[in-house]
């Protein structure tokens, strides 16, 4: 490694805040993006044969694998025509030095709960209509009423950053996540931290309109 690159990476480890501040002062982020730019997204569907449905999504250096397993169960007595949707997010120790092995961390529990909220309480997936088909050859996908997509934002020193990375995230004063469906309708908005004045318009509305624009761009990638 070149001497200057080594110095920069040591500075980044020791003074992450000052490191990011100097980038922000130059109107650029450590990975070379402008403040409002998003990381590249790639979607790959159906690569896992043991799952009934699967997707592999890459967002910058983040990789998420999701598998769906379908099983047969007796419905609840008070909802005889409905099945169960059980989403869980796992943050294995494999993916970052921040995560420890063992039962789900607080962070994983909160994320699972938010995912569950988006998927279930808004009735995005049509409930079972009494017919369960079991077939090796024909597959009948679950009917999704809506395809919600989530977008994250962060505020650092009164600067709004779109799609913050793992390095930027712990330094943020406020994080905002906006979930938008394919019609551009809001599904969920979560803001953690104080509302900060980032200049021009109201921060939250800026985030929402930016998420809607990005949802249209990503539309083509979602099968």
């Amino acid at each position: 490694m070149a001497d200057s690159a080594l110095k920069a990476s040591i500075f980044q480890r020791l003074h992450p805040r000052a490191y990011l501040e100097r980038f922000v002062a130059e109107s650029v982020r450590p990975d070379g993006r402008p403040f409002d730019a998003w990381r590249d997204v790639s979607v790959n569907v159906g690569s896992i044969s043991t799952a009934n449905g699967s997707a592999l999504v890459r967002l910058g250096e983040t990789t998420i694998v999701c598998g769906v397993k379908a099983e047969i169960a007796e419905p609840e007595l008070d909802a005889p025509d409905q099945g169960f949707l059980v989403p869980n997010i796992d943050l294995p120790a494999l993916c970052s030095p921040k995560f420890k092995p063992g039962p789900p961390s607080d962070e994983a529990q909160v994320l699972s709960d938010r995912l569950n909220e988006v998927l279930s309480s808004y009735q995005h997936i049509t409930s079972e209509n009494g017919l369960t088909t079991c077939s090796r050859t024909a597959s009948s996908p679950l009917q999704m009423l809506k395809t919600p997509v989530s977008f994250s934002f962060g505020v650092f020193d009164a600067t709004l950053l779109a799609d913050p990375t793992a390095f930027e995230e712990p330094l943020l004063d406020t994080t905002i996540s906006v979930v938008v469906d394919e019609n551009g309708d809001l599904v969920s908005v979560v803001q953690l931290g104080p509302g900060v004045d980032t200049g021009a318009a109201d921060t939250l509305s800026t985030c929402i309109s930016s998420a809607k624009t990005r949802r249209v761009v990503l539309g083509g990638q979602i099968p």
Partner: protein, 254 residues
């Protein structure tokens, strides 16, 4: 069973669908489908995919998909002083990795695989150079097609990840599984073939030093068959060694 409040829970009982056509398609004595007895599944190996880890590797052998990350050497916490470093292996199955859904923390299968991978690797790592330290190896099985194949591929991925992390090794560990099916020895058995076999053997070795690091045999087989399996595995391990070396070389060039 007590409700696990840390996860989102489904119904208490649920069952995978059973299909009428689920009977085994071929019986003992039939020739092997798709490949010859001495063939292994093609290996795709990519070191360094996990940017946050000190070293990592992803391995794919046909349907088997395994990701592995190495963190460390880092300070051992909450342990007494030790001259030697510690090698810690954790294996995790994703819930969708097998034909039956794997509920979290239901069995000890992942621990027995972790022990097998630990055994395969521990004699190759120069732990005497790392006092007071721990090397954590995390293996996630994304899709499994035969447990013995998972042990073998997991060991290869873990050794590649250790090399990618720049940890001093005596040699790269490669590993191969073999099953006795009828009178033949089939290398690298799939899940379906594993069910047909009488016994299975997984051999891990350091081909560069011509040394065996671990032999893991289950089921019944004659001594001559066990020796035959070991010979066949060792031969394949040498071939796998060049695949691993090539993958590491290519990732180092970038």
């Amino acid at each position: 069973m007590a409700l696990d409040r840390r996860r989102i829970n489904g119904p208490e009982e649920s069952f995978p669908p059973i299909f009428d056509s689920d009977a085994l398609q071929w019986k003992v004595g039939d020739a092997r489908k798709d490949r010859s007895p001495a063939d292994i599944r093609p290996i795709f190996l990519q070191p360094g995919l996990i940017s946050q880890a000190n070293g990592s590797a992803y391995i794919e052998t046909a349907k088997t998909k395994i990701a592995c990350a190495v963190y460390g050497p880092r300070q051992s916490k909450n342990t007494a002083y030790s001259e030697m470093g510690r090698l810690n292996v954790e294996v995790k199955f994703t819930p969708f990795s097998c034909i039956r859904r794997r509920a979290p923390m239901r069995d000890a299968e992942d621990r027995s695989i972790a022990v097998a991978i630990h055994q395969a690797l521990v004699s190759s790592v120069r732990l005497e150079l790392l006092p007071k330290s721990t090397i954590d190896i995390f293996v996630t099985i994304i899709e499994s097609d035969g447990l013995d194949g998972c042990v073998a591929s997991g060991s290869v991925a873990a050794s590649t990840a250790l090399a990618d992390a720049g940890i001093e090794l005596l040699g790269l560990v490669t590993s191969c599984a073999a099953s006795v099916v009828g009178k033949e020895i089939w290398l690298d058995p799939t899940e379906e073939e594993g069910r047909l076999s009488k016994g299975t053997l997984v051999l891990s070795c350091m081909p560069a030093l011509k040394k065996v690091t671990s032999v893991w045999q289950t089921g019944e087989m004659k001594v001559a068959e066990a020796l035959g399996c070991m010979d066949a595995c060792q031969e394949k391990c040498t071939e796998i060694h060049s695949v691993v070396a090539q993958a590491l070389l290519e990732s180092a060039k970038i």
